[in-house]
Symmetry: C3
Subunit: 505 residues, 3 copies
């Protein structure tokens, strides 16, 4: 390839100017900006995949101006005003990668243009300000800081990923390296992108200088960007199609919501909704791109997006739910327990919560919720009503009531099981069988402590996710109640062995 | 939505009568009953999703009368006679939800009609009596009672899902609540639906009275229904499409057959059959709706339904297998061991089995099968022959023989491993390292007992499912033999530690 | 069916001769050989599924002669010369099943023809010699011997799958039977096919004699065939479609690469590539059959094949990567650690490696690589460059550099964790808490040894696969670092318990 393209930058740029429509088929008549034509001039051969990808996108086929003219229910943009030169071109490379250059620490001179590699929610907000604002109020947007700024979670990160050394029958664990964190927890939570320096490199177009960005690549939902914005739209709308179809499909959510701590995708896939989705999704009837998304017409069973995010209407256009990128607008409970399931936090920044133990956890070790930092019962009821309005698209009130009352019972019972596990751990700490926070030790690094963490993080969570979506065996043998009770039993057995041994001293 | 529809029941009903065909496109000329038109009059706005869903169904497009006229091999109904007013309308809401009202404990007055929310196999039998009868002779139809009426399984349910309290270094476990059982084991096995009372509720159509049904919602295969029938056709033919496509796809079976106890779906998905299904299923050639289902023409690899249920023919219509909803018609062995794999039970009601230990288990602790309650070798051979007739659609006799002889070897060897695990458990009971049934204690609630249960319930089962379908790593590292042997090794280690400790007393 | 077809061999053969085109639609005008017509004459009713299957294949529609005329980039065959009678017919049953009869131990007389049931890479090489040669230089082609000829791996196979007996508080483990090995490890690694005898059988065509083949059926990648060739093309190109579409889809790879030891498919499915594949693969734009495979045009995200095997070009035909069936041509590291991740072995036959411990492992217990048997740093760099050329289809150099540098860090850190686990094991051996190779015992059969094996085989591997593909939670809670560190912690705990007990003696 090198040979073919190494004919020099100018020649290629010239070709691009002479054939401005090369990137488009006849029917796509919306104009591409001169700047984006320049980009494509080279990148069609340098990174051909993403150029083709983008050509298939809606971005390449419509302009902000036209997008804004759509009827309200069909609108995919939320801006009020836009400067004319942006409003009347399709959204190409330059429109995003040169947006707000002064705000971007990663901006650099590239073939005479001020370009930044990392496109951020701050950039996307030019056309989608409402979605960006909602997302920023989303607990996910704070996923980096919520993890990194909370010393207790820091101890969990270290226990999980820190390097272990063994000598004299003892283990010592170091904090994980930046690379390891970026490759593990921060893969989903988002890294902090930091421009370290620039580096020269020989390219097909001659020598060039590029910024070297620490923490890159990453597309975590809570990424700290070079323009100080938070998150990454491409976490769910992957580059360079940015497709609403993809975001509406549960496989997208599975990237971060499939593991034992948050088995949402696994549970969905064995639920009745998942069953219908998986067996019918490719029928001609389903339309994953339609806005609004019409229940019964465009799809016969909800995906993650349908229940949590999308603008839903009936076939005749009556709204069932408003679009929201603040994913907990329809969620009363946070069933992801820390360590107990609880009412949703008020602020997306959970590192500021102080519970009655003085820790930045939404619930205390004895299960008391940090009420001042959580939403009120009144707000919970309102959110549940918003969610149930979606359910009512297909289910009767009796069905819905039965379902949610069972979920509340499961929340209560799994919280009780977590409390039992916690009491065993506290007994272990008291008996000296393990060393916890009162001795300035991590509560996550010893065998019995890890079992405790798995009790709530894996098994109580799995059980609740299964209850919320109808996940059958994920509430029993597939990391559900069988493991929840089994782990508690094993904790007692381990404590017994240690205690019996001590008594023999 | 409320605003739009709260214009009163009568007005909407009036519209429904004036536009009787509103629910149909031109080509669907089969008539909808007046009663169903009434239902749709309101429910098109109250639960629009399921109305659209139903409109896409075969039920909405043909009448029992026409369905019966099909050639035998293409027939989807099995009734002999039907009263004329039902035979000549499409099957709409009222046809099912007002069927046999006097038999239904959940029947209530709804807008002047005697309606029941729960449609049962008893109702579906109006058109599908053969399928209903076969299903009722199916071990799945008895899934509720087989679990709930067997005290030993009751102990397993409690061990898995019962609430644990910890004090004085001891755990106490209560029986799980009804909600917990409905949310766990009975999710698949089926709840017992019981009308508790009626409750008034303000609806979009004004105040209404509805039955409150304990155990609802549920779509378990062994559900005990308000008309005393057993099972739920929507477990595999989900409302309100009731689609044969969905039932023929393995994702449907995955709802209950994916966990570590019955990993059929997981195993299938890595098998060669699953590989071909997953990579070719959306090609134009595959037809999941065709009756009969033609091997090689409509599909290139079998799904769960193809091997276990469907009417299969060759491309030219020569039958390979008859349709059956008695899923073990083609199964000699029950590879789901309790605790050992065994010949299939004669009766679908397994709670009546008495083995030589006097327990309601198909095999004794020492692996002796409860022969009087299991099918004979002769019947086993006949069933295997029926199954192999399906295999012969694509495989030579040498292939088939090699495959099944390997499966039999695996059944024998995994049973032997289970026996080894059982001997260790018995040693633990004898040595006082755990307390079992002879001391009136549960055989499932202590650490070593749980490990024993996982040996056969998870690992021996997984190994056998992998053997039956060609599941590769599910027979080794993915919950297969590695865990089977590993768990046995760990049982001995745990017993050793306890025994060594005791000897130090 | 028996009735229908039992009209005798001759009659059916006659029909076949009279209607030579029966198997084809009008547009398929390429001729079928007389021999294959004979096969189909009977097998269209004896094994109708595979005949239909084959009719849908490319093999049934084109001839080697025509395939060779394609432009180089579009060519799917690699032979130089071919005898005329094979070049000008479509590839039917007889072309493959009667190829090289004298080399095939499984050749037998079948209806007057010398037929062999097992088609091998040696047979496929008639048209695809380059692919066969490459594959034979592939570590997979040696998968049978690499496992069976290495005594250390033999100990692992026995620990995993050998039958356990318990008496006097001791476990004894036998080597697994041939059936068990064929059903477990050799399912993927490949069995050794051995013709034992022939056996008569009554068929629809009268009595016939067939070879009885030990180890059959099997489609493992390292199968030892009756013509002494190695491997099975149908492992990835399943019979009788042999479809490139199937081979290009990751579900195919999942057959052997999904378990906890090699969770490549699982990791892929939650990666961004997998997300795009899973949500877009059925769009009209994707073309899994196109040769060459055009990045951005035929697919928007790579599958396993795209990165490791396929001939890739840009939309305009500029090559990004050459087709290779030597799957490590683009791989510098072997991230599947034995027990440490290491530079790829030079020879596909790894049973000949001798490390500094004198064992046939690519790395020593103290992590020193067996450098003489592994590729040089220079070769590693070249291979990485070849792989990165694929990445460059869509990603910038900064992105690629960041990704690969993170992967190298993860390789280093997981190797360090494995070393820690190994030191604990060695301490256990020294303290007599377990018995290892120095006492002529297996290093895999005791509880703490199994935990050690899981540390590198499951958790370090999973972490590295996640790092290589962006697998998020598979690097943390889903069998990743959390289990890696947790297992090490538990090893120390178990060792402590044993040691404490000993000290009390």
């Amino acid at each position: 390839m090198k040979k073919l393209v190494r004919t020099g930058l100018m020649l290629i740029l010239l070709c691009a100017f002479l054939q401005p429509d090369a990137a488009f088929s006849k029917e796509d008549v919306a104009p591409l900006s001169t700047e984006s034509q320049m980009c494509i001039g080279c990148h069609a051969s340098v990174t051909p995949g993403i150029v083709s990808d983008w050509k298939n996108s809606r971005m390449a086929k419509t302009t902000p101006g036209r997008a804004k003219e759509k009827p309200d229910l069909e609108k995919r943009v939320s801006f009020e005003n836009m400067r004319k030169e942006l409003a009347d071109v399709v959204i190409g490379c330059a429109e995003c990668h040169t947006m707000n250059p002064e705000k971007h620490e990663d901006t650099f001179d590239h073939a005479g243009v001020r370009v930044h590699p990392v496109v951020t929610p701050g950039d996307c907000a030019a056309c989608h300000p409402a979605e960006r604002k909602e997302f920023s109020e989303n607990i996910m947007a704070e996923a980096h800081g919520n993890l990194e700024d909370n010393p207790l979670y820091g101890a969990l990160v270290t226990a999980a990923a820190g390097s272990l050394k063994f000598s004299d029958m003892k283990l010592e664990q170091k904090e994980p390296s930046d690379d390891t964190k970026a490759d593990s927890c921060l893969f989903c939570h988002g890294t902090k992108l930091k421009v370290k320096k620039t580096a020269g490199r020989e390219t097909d177009m001659g020598p060039m200088e590029f910024p070297v960005i620490q923490g890159w690549p990453n597309q975590g939902v809570g990424r700290i960007n070079p323009d100080n914005s938070k998150g990454s739209c491409s976490a769910c709308h992957p580059r360079h199609r940015f497709s609403i179809e993809t975001a509406r499909k549960p496989e997208t959510c599975s990237q971060c919501h499939k593991g034992p701590d948050v088995p949402a995708y696994k549970v969905y896939s064995v639920s009745k909704h998942g069953n219908i989705y998986n067996s019918q999704k490719n029928s001609d009837k389903w339309d994953f791109a339609s806005v609004p998304w019409k229940v019964g017409k465009d799809m016969e069973a909800p995906t993650c997006a349908a229940c949590h995010i999308s603008l839903l209407t009936t076939e005749d256009g009556t709204p069932l739910a408003q679009r929201t990128h603040r994913m907990n607008d329809r969620l009363a409970w946070r069933i992801f327990g820390l360590p107990y399931a609880h009412a949703h936090p008020q602020s997306p920044d959970t590192s500021k919560i102080v519970n009655k133990d003085g820790l930045a956890l939404p619930t205390a070790l004895d299960s008391t919720p940090a009420r001042d930092f959580l939403i009120s019962e009144n707000t919970m009821n309102k959110r549940e009503e918003t969610m149930q309005q979606v359910c009512r698209g297909c289910h009767s009130s009796g069905w819905i009531k039965g379902h949610f009352s069972r979920l509340e019972s499961t929340i209560e019972e799994t919280n009780a099981q977590t409390l039992t596990a916690t009491k065993i751990l506290q007994e272990a700490w008291e008996k000296g069988a393990a060393k916890g926070p009162s001795e300035n030790k991590s509560p996550f690094d010893e065998a019995i402590e890890r079992m405790w963490a798995e009790t709530w993080l894996f098994y109580a969570n799995s059980t609740r996710f299964a209850s919320a979506m109808g996940g059958a065996d994920y509430g029993v043998f597939a990391q559900g109640r069988w493991y929840l009770t089994g782990n508690i039993t094993l904790m007692v057995k381990l404590l017994e062995l240690k205690t019996d041994l001590k008594q023999k001293d």
